[in-house]
Amino acid sequence: MRALHVQNLTFNWPGAQNVTLRIPNLSLAQGERIFLFGPSGSGKSTLLSAIAGVVDVSTGAILVADKDLGAVRGGARDRFRVDHIGMIFQVFNLIPWLSALENVLLPCTFSQRRRTRAGDDPVATARRLLEELGLSDPSLASKPANQLSVGQQQRVAAARALIGKPDLILADEPTSALDEAAKAAFVDLLTRECAEAGSALLFVSHDRSLERHFDRSVDFLELNRSAA
């Protein structure tokens, strides 16, 4: 099984003249960790949106866990996403008025598969994940998310992406709001937890200093042939 397989993908935003994405081939094996780098505005986020099934691709196929996203429509695609994909954004990952723990458990409330895979006691699993990500203080777990620091919020977001062992984790510049020391620590923790969960990781960043934590790196400009 491949966690992700993108084939002959083209995409352009409605009304746009130029094709934004033209990706002949991108594959992630199960548990593989890929570092995707490229300058801002090159379409990396658009690719992630397409993989998450939020935008419809013009042509080509995106297979997540060997299932064609194009064949899943509407609300079923939202459910499919949470079943198989965990997501971490640049900033603002958390529902501000839920506690850290409740934020981590969100995928389990929307996905039966994630809940089942989170073990007998999802709450304990969530606590363990938070602990492993350096948020061991119990008072932190019950704090509303908007009272956490940015670094803490990103780690809570990572725990949420990881809970229930999704097949694929999409991380869209999750370290851009962190300082240098925190960046490395965060990526280190994330890759380790992905390995433990058996999830493939597609990590998008413009910061090549993080490259060394990954199985391989892909240059987005080489991947995307839209300019050609």
Binding site: A52, G75, V82, M87, L94, W97, L98, P107
Partner: protein, 446 residues
Amino acid sequence: MLGFSLRSLWNRRFVAGLTVLAIGLSVALILGVERLRDGARDSFANSASGIDLIVAPRGNSVQILMATVFGVGGTGTGMTWDSFEWMEGRPEVAWAVPIQMGDNHRGYPVIGTDASYFEHFRHSGGQPLSLAAGTFFTGDGADAAVVGAEIAARFGYAPGTVIVNAHGSGEVSFDLHDDAPFTISGVLAPTGTAVDRMVFVALEGFDTIHAQEETPLADPLDPAATPANGHGEDDAHDDHDAHEDHEDHGEYEGTEVGHGHEPDRINAVYVGLIDRTNVLGLQRAVNERPSDALSAVLPAVALAELWGITGTAESAMRLMAWAVALAGMISMVVMLSATLDTRRREFAILRSVGATPARIFGLIVTEAAILTAAGLILGLVLLTVATFVTDPILSARFGLRLGFDVFGAREPGTLFVIFCAGLLASLVPAVRVYRMTLADGLSVRL
């Protein structure tokens, strides 16, 4: 989903609380207006309870009702004592109470009647009249008067006070019967009906004040003042006539039937039947009585007719209450809509963890449902508290009884309508959110 919505609302508890308050107030207002209306109608319908038929000189039934029960205006010229005795003698009649009117005491109507009035009159759901002080007419009570609670309170009357009545029904009168004073024998307990604003004197006393008048007091040019016989319907509006007829009082010689005093003419008779199902037959008999032009009024029917006239004000009140409810709904839509922009990120996060746009739509509707339901409960609580506080005042001063039931008969229906309106109103922001989440996807460009 419910818990999630609750948490989300709790996060905005101040604004949510205000919204609930707005809805609660409008709910309380709607139900309160409805209850006041029902209470007013009940108290109105009960203002002549116990009386099966009011017999009076021929006239409009509403006018007869107004004159006899509410003491406003007057009936046509007097009916004969013969008719009263005929009435009283009918086999289907259980009791008959004679009523004389046309005098006032400082603007309040004076009713000439006998002691049986106090025995048979019922108010506010069948309660008999009771005394706050003193006694009803005593045996010889030609100069005894019983006053209503409002009069007693306004003028500070107590048993023993001597009062003087005036002729006519206006507040300002120069025709005082100061040669025939009355001594108050009793003060009635408050009823919340027109009785509170009436002075009752014995028939005998009522006649006394007129018996002493000099005979030629009628203007010979005033046809309405023509004494005695032959009164037709054309002078039905002259409420003075009945008393001016008393000039020939001394000539009357009737048989004794248990009424200590027999005036020659009275204004109305309250009739109670042994079997109420005979009321229509008796009504026909009265209307067809050849010797006297009489009308027999079913109080319930006349009251309904009168209520129909006052119904416009009632509709206006209801309309206003619903307008307030509309304002409450709008405030909820405003509150839900105003927060949408700041919550876009929240919705995007929810989508990223698997919430479908339909689910987010449902979230908004659920929030609206919670707000509306909380508003309904708050409204009921407010209303119950308000009822508890105001009931003693309302029942004493207006004879209104609102009742402490949490639900009136139609109230579940009203509450359901409001709840549905709340859900319906929430569709406006919910549809916006639905579109927004589809357009935003997972990353919000703010």
